[in-house]
């Protein structure tokens, strides 16, 4: 890595909203991404346990920060600002990242930049696709939202009324006895088991207005299994119904906003079948479709650092004493003064 040069701005970002403690370091000069360190908590069985996650994060936070600095070939003195995801997410997990960020900020006198985790996923998509003004479908373990930028903020055009898409896939896989591990060889357990499956009746498709709902799908899919339906058929149909509904809501948002770009982001964004549907849908509307760079689809510190960099360059900082975590911090509560700025654009001012 090149040593830091005059006028270059380096931002260190910390992610700790769910299962991954991530530290990323990014620069205003290429190569933009200088470090990407992740420590992921994985359950031996069952789902996420917030307290265990927090303990795991506390154990690994220090070494993760040190490793990221080493990877970037810089010292903490070279870093211009520290960005941190303050929400939304699980309280105990969030607190670890916030504590580390506040400590770095206070001890080394670095400006602290608050970042909304959902905004960071959308910005990761914008920054890696180069799509300046897209409609974004954000699908992950804890989130399912269709957003687009209107009048200063990302506005929610549709979202799940109950569980998130990733949660649906994980919970079904667990209850059906095909996970953990939830993801192996880049494929989700539901995708693996859907191979060779076909469409069966019995799983409801729920789009209410602009919103989707997955809890009925989960219940119906498990009931089908109990009644002896083939596992591969149930996996195939569950995926088909759930993916189609989020793509339809995205389609409505595209039609409504009249935008000509669509993107996909979040932990489920690497899914091949979902990408095929999104691409087909966008084509119908003459829209360009590109998903987030797969390396930044899951939770990571780089997206926090990138969003933090954009925010910092546009004057968004927070007093460490006021950097509280916000477990339910909605994406449409966040002003985006840098929009539609992309890395590579001339710096503001």
């Amino acid at each position: 890595m090149p040593p830091k040069r005059d006028g270059e701005v380096l931002v260190l970002g910390i992610e700790s909203t769910a299962h991954t403690f991530g530290v990323g370091i990014v620069s205003t000069r290429p190569p933009i991404v200088r470090a990407d360190v992740r420590r992921r908590w994985t359950p031996r069985e069952g789902g996420i346990l917030p307290r265990e996650v927090a303990e795991f994060f506390s154990l690994h936070a220090g070494e993760a920060v040190a490793e990221a600095l080493g990877e970037a070939g810089v010292s903490i003195a070279d870093v211009d600002a520290v960005a941190v995801a303050l929400g939304p997410g699980m309280g105990p997990a969030l607190r670890v990242g916030a504590t580390v960020a506040r400590a770095l900020s206070a001890k080394y006198g670095k400006p602290l930049v608050p970042v909304n985790h959902a905004v960071a996923h959308v910005e990761a998509a914008r920054f890696t696709t180069g799509l300046r003004d897209p409609v974004a479908l954000y699908v992950a373990g804890g989130n399912t939202t269709v957003v687009s930028f209107v009048a200063g903020r990302y506005r929610t055009f549709g979202e799940t009324l109950d569980i998130a898409l990733g949660n649906l896939l994980d919970t079904f896989a667990r209850e059906a006895g095909i996970a953990p591990p939830y993801v192996a060889g880049g494929l989700h357990a539901v995708d693996r088991c859907a191979e060779g499956g076909g469409f069966v009746e019995g799983i409801p498709y729920v789009v209410k207005g602009q919103d989707v709902s997955f809890s009925g799908i989960l219940t119906a899919a498990l009931r089908l299994l109990k009644r002896g339906a083939r596992l591969s058929d149930v996996c195939y149909t569950l995926r088909e119904v759930a993916f189609s509904s989020v793509v339809e809501v995205t389609e409505r948002c595209l039609a409504h906003t009249g935008k000509r770009q669509a993107t996909l982001t979040g932990g489920v964004a690497a899914n091949r079948v979902l990408n095929e549907k999104m691409s087909l849908m966008a084509g119908l509307h003459g829209a360009v479709y590109r998903p987030v760079d797969v390396r930044l689809s899951g939770d990571n510190g780089v997206m926090i650092a990138l969003t933090g960099l954009a925010a910092y360059l546009h004057g968004v900082i927070i007093d460490p004493g006021e950097a509280y975590i916000r477990q339910r911090w909605r994406i449409d509560e966040v002003d985006i003064p840098w929009y539609p700025w992309l890395p590579g654009d001339p710096p503001p001012g």
Binding site: F199, Y205, Q210, E251, H256, E276, D332
Partner: protein, 231 residues
Amino acid sequence: MVSLAPWGPAARLEELPLLKRGAEAEIRLGEFMGLQAVYKARVRKPYMHPRLAERLVRLRTRREARVIAAARAAGVSAPALLAVFPSLGLIVMEYVEGPLLKDVIDRRGLGAGGLVEEAGYNLGLLHRAGVVHGDPTTSNYIVRGGGVVLIDYGLAEFSSSVEDRAVDLHLFRRAVESTHAPLAGELYSLYTRGYLRAVGEWGGEVLRRAEEIRLRGRYVRERRRSVWGVG
């Protein structure tokens, strides 16, 4: 496409002149037993499994027809339903001729105030029938014979929830704010006056919720304003 010859001069649906092509449906102009009629054919989503796409087309066609029937029965000024073919995703309905309320407001400003109140009254009647419209903008009212006709029930649903009803009012307000900005306040108050006249005592609660939704700032269920809401 199945021949519609028994009911109209055109042998094939796709030969009828296209009024509008949207993501949800294609709207064509034709005849039905001697009447001018609108043929609304739902589109099968190519990104869905054919059986799922088919199921949705049938379900939504049936639902829209039921909603229109319920609206008419409740006295809402809505297009008459002429025929329904769920397997084709096709609804044939009365062609309502006239200018859009939006254009009449553009021309006459608050001179169209009576029509706006009438529009709110019709939404109230619809809500009383247990139906929410889903897209009640000034482009979905047609002015005819001194009154208005509420069209496009493609996104309508059976619901009596305060939230769903309030969303309808919110959508109207957003529509007038973006298309008739200087008059938005007056237009919305005329609309709600008509609405309250139709619904009576629970109207106040719906109005308050609409205000809450506005403060929440969420773009809930907002859609492109178009004649048919199929954009």
